[in-house]
């Protein structure tokens, strides 16, 4: 290794900081702990900036590669590296953690160190998942990440937190176990645990189908796809604001990331053969879940359901490529579809994360998540209402916000796949507007009817900064997504190439 | 002359008796312990019989080992029994079912 191990630093710096924070531990030093956490994430952000600046846009190869022998007996390596698919996710992780820390600055007063430590741990481990190029390392981070979020929900959650956290844990854990079997099977044939070796492995259709399904079980729970989505509304509803944000902004991305990193390139024929299933499930997520979101009475539940619908778009964009390629020779439409899925992931992290922070801000003041307990908040907190309007609009997919791009790309390319897929996907324009703006109307508009709303405390500077950061990204990506899209091009192009070549 | 068969049958009967005692006994924990000891003795007798008929002293050496272990076991068993009695005020087997699922 000749260069500076920047990825390792990104992974282990927050984890080390978490240990330090836990050692300090005491609420008496709460402010010191907050500052320490903030400094850690800001340092990570600086590292991300370096990463972004030095990232080469022209190659699809893994960059910033680190490779150390870890368990030589089984040929397991500590191998890291990022490409155009994982780089945005790494940066996203750091930004999300930063906003979460800012948003919980004033809200969390008990067990501050432990609370913040869970987020630092999570940051390190999630980055680990995105950077790992050795599947055992990947799997380790993948499972280890569950622990801090499990503790986070279980400790700082609402009334039914124990139920929700156990449900969440068992659900996602059960899904991942099968993946381990698939990884071991692949190892037996490839001779190493390196992802790149798996890419070159020839597999029969039957093997591919089984491996695809094993991966599907792990990833579909994380996305989550219908019908394995029911842990998400519960987990989101019960989790503290920060936990919800991390769940929505980071955890859900891992599923799609897994599809792109494992399912498509390792089992292209199975992905092709089963793409009809994935498209069907994605459309169900978009339409069925969109409908279900309309009738939610709990704000967090509503946003959770809207998350599922939005991730449906990402799944649709990912698996539609096979259908598109059966209709057209050039890869332009398929690439637009995949990139749409990627942008959808990034955008969803910002807008949904921000909505959860917003609900968290309201919850910290009134201790209710029910829409019916609010009315006329815009009258009392106008600035906050403007922020939430921006995020709601992104959730609706308004052009000029980040939420638009993914939907736009996916719908446009869907037309090439099949008119009715495009039509069903486009229904999200109506459903998204209906559930988001109807909620907005009931919470923010109208007369101030309750004493509690009338006496709402203004938003704190730290919360303002968190919201402003997110609003900046939502609008910037919406107005000028080209820098983000440029990062994708090489890697997505390569992904498409290897996903379209049969391995039989 | 006692044949191997008849000797083994005696020990088998001895073993079976202790087994029946173990299964049927519902009252006294001490009886249970005694049954276990009896089982060991039946096995010991087997060792001696085989040692005699095979002309191999190793079997008799084993008997001493087993006797030593059995003594230790009986000591520990009785100690546990006393502790149980102190705690539960009973050594009735049918009342000692805290392992019930």
């Amino acid at each position: 290794m000749t260069h500076f191990p920047i990825l390792s630093l990104l992974i282990w710096l927050p984890i080390l900081a978490a240990i330090v924070v836990l050692i300090i531990g005491d609420d008496a030093h709460a402010n010191k702990i907050r500052v320490l956490t903030l400094v850690t994430t800001l340092l990570s952000l600086v590292l991300c900036a370096v990463l972004w600046a030095q990232f080469s846009l022209t190659t699809y190869q893994f960059q910033f590669v680190e490779n150390l022998s870890w368990i030589p007996a089984y040929n397991i390596n500590y191998a890291l590296g990022i490409d155009g698919i994982s780089l945005p996710m790494v940066v996203l992780t750091v930004i999300t953690t930063l906003t979460v820390i800012l948003a919980s600055w004033h809200v969390v007063q008990k067990h501050v160190a432990q609370y913040l430590a869970t987020f630092l741990l999570m940051q390190g481990m999630v980055i680990g998942v995105f950077c790992a190029t050795d599947t055992i390392l990947f799997y380790m981070f993948w499972e280890a990440m569950l622990i801090p979020i499990y503790i986070n929900i279980g400790m700082w959650g609402a009334e039914r937190r124990v139920y929700a956290s156990i449900k969440f844990f068992i659900y996602t854990f059960a899904g991942s176990v099968v993946m381990l079997v698939a990884i071991l099977y692949l190892r037996a044939h490839a001779g190493s645990f390196a992802i790149l070796d798996f890419y070159n492995l020839r597999l029969t259709q039957g093997e591919q189908d089984l491996i695809f399904i094993a991966f599907l079980l792990a990833f579909s729970v994380k996305v989550p796809m219908w019908p394995v989505h029911t842990w998400l509304p519960d987990a989101h509803t019960e989790a503290p604001a920060g936990g919800s944000v991390v769940l929505a902004a980071l955890m859900l991305k891992l599923g799609i990331y897994g599809f792109m990193r494992f399912s498509l390139p390792i089992t292209p024929d199975a992905s092709h053969a089963l793409s009809w299933l994935m498209i069907a499930l994605a459309l169900i997520a978009i339409v069925y879940i969109g409908l279900v979101a309309i009738v939610q009475t709990d704000m967090k539940r509503l946003i959770a359901y809207s998350s599922i619908a939005h991730m449906g778009f990402a799944v649709l964009g990912t698996f539609m490529v096979y259908l598109i390629m059966s209709n057209v020779a050039n890869t332009g439409y398929a690439q637009m579809s995949l990139e749409g899925a990627m942008v959808q992931m990034v955008s969803h992290a910002f807008s949904t994360g921000a909505l959860f922070i917003g609900v968290g801000i309201l919850y910290a003041r009134i201790h209710s998540r029910l829409i019916s307990d609010y009315s006329g908040v815009a009258r009392v907190l106008p600035v906050f209402a403007v922020f939430m309007m921006i995020f709601s609009l992104s959730n609706v997919g308004m052009p000029g916000t980040s939420g638009f791009i993914g939907e736009f790309f996916v719908i446009l390319s869907a037309f090439k796949a099949n008119f009715w897929i495009a039509f069903l996907a486009a229904l999200t324009l109506i459903l998204g507007a209906a559930y988001t703006l109807w909620m907005y109307k009931r919470v923010f508009f109208g007369k101030v009817t309750s004493e509690a709303v009338a006496n709402l405390k203004p938003i704190e500077p730290a919360e303002f900064i968190a919201l402003a950061i997110l609003a900046f990204f939502v609008i910037f990506i919406g107005v000028y997504p080209q820098p983000l899209l440029n990062v994708f091009h090489a890697s997505i192009g390569h992904l498409l190439d290897i996903s379209l070549v049969s391995k039989l | 002359m006692i044949t191997l068969n008849s000797a083994l049958i005696v020990t088998a009967i001895l073993f079976s008796l202790s087994l029946i005692g173990l299964v049927l006994n519902r009252h006294n924990l001490i009886v249970l312990l005694m049954c276990v000891e009896l089982m060991l003795l039946a096995v010991n007798t087997n060792f001696i019989i085989f040692s005699h008929f095979l002309n191999d002293l190793a079997g008799q050496v084993f008997v001493f080992f087993i006797l030593a272990v059995a003594a230790a076991e009986a000591a520990i068993g009785l100690a546990i029994l006393i502790l149980i009695f102190r705690k539960q005020k009973t050594i009735n087997v049918s009342e000692l079912n805290t392992l019930k699922g």
């Binding site: 637009m336 638009f404 446009l412 495009a422 109307k441 007369k447 091009h489 | 173990l22 699922g101």
Partner: protein
């Protein structure tokens, strides 16, 4: 050119940002100054463009500002296409917007959300300018959605009022329904042409159409993909331009402040659909079926929404229905391939409809926010200037020569008359009856408001007087425009056309409408009530607006919610969550509960089990041996 465009587009945006974000700091006066200044700069630059293109016949310009994003083989640019159509639209948007800005200084005085209002209308101006200057579908869609958004915000401007919130949400969602069509249309365009830029698409269109590409939407059918695209895009236009059956949001949008009704819901945004079809006219020319569809929808809207205007009592709603009806005329013109006539009517309509709205706003303001015409009457004595301006607007709307509306409407009716596509004769009849209806409802409103006896109580009568110059100046300017635009555009033939009108049927129909209104509402005010009683079933249908609202409310709104509730309760909660997820948990619990009975806790049970096990093992071994 690029500089000029920047000077048109950015000032309104900057004004919006300044007034919106720093409004509370810089204060009310500075807020309206900065936004008015922004739009003024825009207006002046638009005038220059207008001069360059319309008067000096400069050639079409296609400018790319920056590449928004690339993906796959496609490039999405933010770029501008400037030609005669754009130049005309620029004039309409910036001039009406400027006048409405000025007018709002008076109309919104004292409102708590003063700065917010100016920020919104400046933002709207920016969005509308983006829409009309777009050189590709992507940017068109951006402008399209952005004007819809600002419209949503402005309808719900008084967000503590429930009807305003309801109306704004309804407007947004109805528009979104049509946007589904629009975005699918764009998907069709990119599928067929491989690009979203207007010029390549329009240039390739005839060649592509010649190869007769088809699409199979249902198994076994095959439709011309050009027709499908045209109709999908037009569905988008139907929402924005409020064509039947997606017109339902426009009357509701009257809950917003009156200036925005003039700007957004009369002059500019609602005409975006007309603009879009005109912009894509070479594409639409390739599909006769799409044109028939457009013609029939337009004519139907023109007639049937006009009729509804006759029974409305809210002065703004009468004008709103009138807007629907006039939009129907424009769309019908597009259907008859008379794109120039459609745009011409768009321009004149922008002038006289903005005038009518602003005049109505003047009345409403003078009467302290009273909008019910039954409580008005005889106002011509108190508001002479408003009265005459409203009269000019009404005459222009009723297409009386030489007012501007006459020239444009005459062109439309003539075009539809000459059209030979399917549905043209139906459209012609509908538009003819529409002329009568138009004159009837607008003069009904005119007479009810300004003539007859004054119904306002005597105490408030003394307070009724003309508003300040910021209110009446825009009215006068628009009135002058309403009188002259038609004559200016048709300068050579103006007189001849006007004279010819006295021998044509539409003119006499319009006169008949005015006379009927005068007879029913001035001479014999008892007649309308009598008619309403006699034809109560008809009256009921009209009051219920043909049942569109109730139908939507019951079928779509409640139906969707009921379906969603059903899916949530039974699909998500019962079946998946309770059945599958917690069900598998319960299954495991049941299994372990069953198995744990084996664990009796008695040593002798275990011993017995052990012995049985050993015996079984021995037996098995013996059997094997």
């Amino acid at each position: 050119m690029q500089l000029l465009l920047t000077a048109i587009l950015l000032p309104p945006l900057l004004g919006a940002i300044l007034a919106g974000i720093f409004g509370t700091i810089i204060g009310r006066v500075a807020s309206h100054r900065v936004t008015v200044l922004g739009v003024l700069i825009s207006f002046i630059c638009s005038c220059i463009i207008f001069k360059n293109f319309i008067l000096d016949h400069q050639s079409t310009q296609n400018i790319i500002a920056y590449t928004w994003g690339t993906s796959g083989a496609f490039q999405f640019n933010v770029g501008f296409l400037i030609d005669n159509l754009t130049a005309t639209m620029l004039m309409v948007v910036t001039s009406v917007s400027l006048l409405v800005h000025v007018y709002s200084i008076g109309y919104m005085r004292g409102d708590a959300g003063y700065q917010r209002f100016f920020s919104y209308i400046s933002l709207f101006t920016f969005a509308m300018l983006m829409l009309i200057t777009a050189n590709n579908f992507f940017q068109l869609f951006f402008g399209w959605e952005a004007v819809g958004l600002v419209s949503y915000l402005l309808i719900g401007f008084w967000f503590t009022r429930e009807p305003a919130n309801f109306g704004s949400l309804k407007a947004f969602i109805v528009n979104r329904v049509s946007d589904v069509g629009f975005i699918l249309g764009i998907g069709g365009v990119i599928t067929l042409f491989g690009t979203v830029d207007f010029l390549p698409v329009l240039a390739q269109a005839p060649k592509v159409a010649a190869s007769l590409p088809t699409i199979s939407l249902f198994a076994g059918t095959s439709w011309s993909i050009i027709t499908v695209i045209c109709i999908l895009l037009f569905i988008g236009a139907m929402g924005k331009s409020a064509q039947m059956p997606l017109h339902i949001w426009l009357p509701e949008s009257m809950e917003g402040p009156t200036p925005i009704s003039a700007l957004i819901h009369a002059a500019t945004m609602v005409t975006a659909g007309v603009y879009m079809v005109a912009r894509l006219s070479p594409l639409y020319e390739l599909s006769a079926s799409a044109l028939t569809f457009i013609l029939v929808i337009g004519a139907t809207t023109a007639l049937f929404t006009g009729i509804l205007g006759v029974v409305q009592n809210d002065i703004k709603r009468v004008i709103a229905y009138s807007t629907l009806s006039q939009l129907g005329y424009m769309v019908a013109a597009l259907g008859a391939s008379a794109f120039a006539a459609g745009i011409f009517h768009l321009v004149t309509h922008a002038a006289f409809k903005a005038l009518l709205f602003l005049a109505a706003g003047s009345v409403i303001l003078a009467l302290h926010h009273e909008q019910d015409m039954r409580k008005m009457g005889g106002l011509r004595r108190y508001l002479p200037l408003t009265y005459s301006c409203f009269l000019v607007g009404a005459l222009a709307l009723a297409a009386i020569p030489p007012f501007s509306g006459f020239y444009s409407k005459d062109a439309i009716i003539e075009a539809v008359h000459l059209s030979t596509i399917h549905g043209a004769s139906y459209a012609y009849v509908a538009l003819m009856i529409g002329v009568f209806v138009t004159a009837l409802y607008i003069f009904r409103a005119f007479f009810m408001t300004f003539h007859g006896s004054c119904s306002a109580n005597s105490a408030s009568q003394d307070n009724i007087r003309e508003n300040g110059w910021v209110i009446w100046l825009p009215l006068v300017i628009l009135a002058i425009a309403s009188i002259t635009i038609g004559m200016i555009v048709k300068h050579a033939d103006a007189l001849q056309l006007a004279l010819h009108a006295f021998t044509s049927l539409p003119f006499w129909l319009a006169i008949a409408g005015i006379v009927t209104a005068w007879f029913c509402y001035v001479i014999r005010p008892a007649i309308p009530a009598m008619l309403a009683n006699k034809f109560s079933w008809l009256y009921y249908i009209l009051i219920k607006k043909y049942g569109f609202d109730d139908f939507n409310q019951i079928v779509f709104v409640r139906g969707t919610r009921a379906l969603a509730q059903l899916l949530y309760n039974y699909g998500d909660q019962r079946l998946i969550d309770d059945g599958l997820v917690n069900g598998s948990g319960r299954l495991i619990q049941w299994i372990s509960a069953t198995l744990k009975r084996l664990q009796t806790g008695y040593i002798y049970n275990y011993a017995l089990a052990m012995i049985i096990g050993v015996l079984a093992l021995v037996l098995w071994q013996m059997l094997i041996a």
